[in-house]
Amino acid sequence: MTELALILVSTVLVNNFVLVKFLGLCPFMGVSRNVDTATGMALATTFVLTLSAVCSYLANEYLLQPLGLEYLRTITFILVIAAVVQFTEMVVHKTSPLLYRVLGIFLPLITTNCAVLGVALLNTQEQHNFLQSAVYGFGAAIGFSMVLILFSAMRERIAAADVPVPFRGSAIALITAGLMSLAFMGFSGLVKG
């Protein structure tokens, strides 16, 4: 139990996927212009990330390893992620049209989020078991969502600021992301190892 809690704290704060590991930067920069879309993206990513972490663990453990096909790991995981995203999209479309409309384009976009593949690969690298993989994926998703929503609220404020012309848009957003990353350095050492 303590170990799972440590994994959660570690992925959310100490090794935050966006600000410390620098994964998933494309949606972080791309869909953070306003809070509502960022919240939608955060929800969709949380769901997919957790599910795909579990699915790729299962694929790795019961398909690739017994057959000795570890060299196909990356491509299998990409396939698994794409399938999970498609599946999620279909289920959400049928069961909750409202949620489907809120998430909209963000669902298929998640396929290209490198944090999703990163979580799956890191899970096999760290040799997590089933439950650890699930918590790792969920923690990564929570960390991603939290940072994305905070960042989008900051960007809404910066959009109104008198930023020097050469720094407008993505430039100042990247500087802000850098400063956020600096602040997250404060969490280093919170979880040993």
Partner: protein, 342 residues
């Protein structure tokens, strides 16, 4: 003769940025003097270097951006940034430490966002964190209280990196109390064991408690002068003391007392002068309570479990990040409307 007809209300005019910043500088005075008394002329050296760099870099940026230089500089906000950063820096640091820190604070953290009123992060703390991460060794150069290094020796050390014969940096400097407690807890020592040493003063750490006391006085005066509101300092100090109290009561052997937490590090400077920065803090009354409490809790977490002995700077930056979101969810009800209408 001009007998203008002024309509009511006849309140004294106050609250311009310039008067506010001057109040802040004045309130910092007792604490700065106390720091100089304990830690020597290095403090003044840092203050002068940082203040000069702040003014020059702000003027340079304003000039480059084609903004009015003189009138904007007159609000002294850059000066306050420099002074706050200098007070956080160790007095024996080489001259380029305050210079680099202030350059980053004023140029990147403030002017690139459009100058005063737009910076989402507290510039002084952004500068400090950059220094702390880039030059960790130089930022440990705190002398022991009353180390007895004179003005000329300090200047030689800061600018030429030379020490008087027979002295070396290790004998001159001492781990700050927060750092020292951390290290000794790591060595399986308990708090009561440390209490016989010279580390502890009346309530906090020797020397530091007086610095904190004078910053507290300055802060209370700022509150009385209505430059700052009560919410942020009160909730921050309460949260920090509350966290400390809970863990102290659970296990006084390995946790320092709330008084030690409040009076040994940068808690008072942080609570009254840094967290209350009107631009980067939360702006709604309820939001300010959450903002302050967040800083207090994060500070304790970083101090106690994190990798750094002092967590105020990180906690302030982290809550700066959260401030727009806090504001978003704590907007006060518009007068005349019920809560569920928007």
């Amino acid at each position: 003769m001009d007998f203008g007809n002024y309509s009511s209300p006849h309140f004294p005019v106050s609250g311009s940025v310039a008067t506010m910043m001057r109040h802040v500088l004045f309130a910092l005075l007792p604490g700065s003097i106390c720091m100089t008394w304990f830690f020597g002329p290095g403090v003044v050296c840092n203050l002068v270097l940082a203040a000069l760099t702040a003014i020059c870099s702000e003027a340079g940026m304003l000039y480059l951006r084609g903004k009015p230089v003189r009138s904007t500089l007159a609000d002294s906000s850059a000066l306050v940034t420099g002074i706050l950063l200098a007070l956080a820096l160790p007095p024996l640091a080489p001259w380029w430490i305050p210079v680099i820190g202030t350059l980053f604070a004023v140029i990147v953290a403030k002017q690139l966002y459009g100058g005063i009123g737009y910076n989402p992060f507290n510039p002084a703390m952004a500068g400090y964190v950059v220094l702390l991460i880039s030059f960790p060794l130089e930022l440990t150069l705190w002398p022991a209280p009353h180390a007895g290094l004179g003005l000329s020796d300090t200047l030689a050390l800061v600018f030429l990196d030379t020490l008087p014969a027979g002295m070396d940096l290790d004998t001159l400097t001492m781990a700050t109390p927060m750092d020292s407690v951390r290290t000794r807890l790591g060595l399986e020592q308990t708090i009561p064991m440390m209490q016989d040493g010279e580390l502890f003063g009346l309530v906090g750490a020797g020397g530091w408690e007086w610095v904190n006391f004078w910053f507290l006085i300055g802060g209370l005066w700022l509150f009385k002068a209505r430059v700052i509101q009560w919410q942020i300092p009160a909730s921050m100090l309460c949260a920090l003391a509350g966290m400390a109290l809970v863990f102290y009561l659970l296990d006084p052997e390995t946790h320092t007392s709330p008084a030690f937490q409040l009076f040994s590090g940068a808690a008072m400077l942080g609570a009254f002068f840094i967290a209350t920065d009107p631009v980067s803090a939360s702006t709604t009354p309820t939001g300010r309570l959450f903002y302050g409490a967040g800083i207090g809790i994060l500070t304790y977490i970083i101090r106690h479990w994190g990798g750094y002995p002092e967590g105020i700077a990180f906690a302030v930056l982290l809550m700066n990040m959260a401030a727009p979101t806090i504001d978003y969810y704590t907007q006060p009800r518009v007068f005349g409307k019920s809560g569920d209408e928007t």
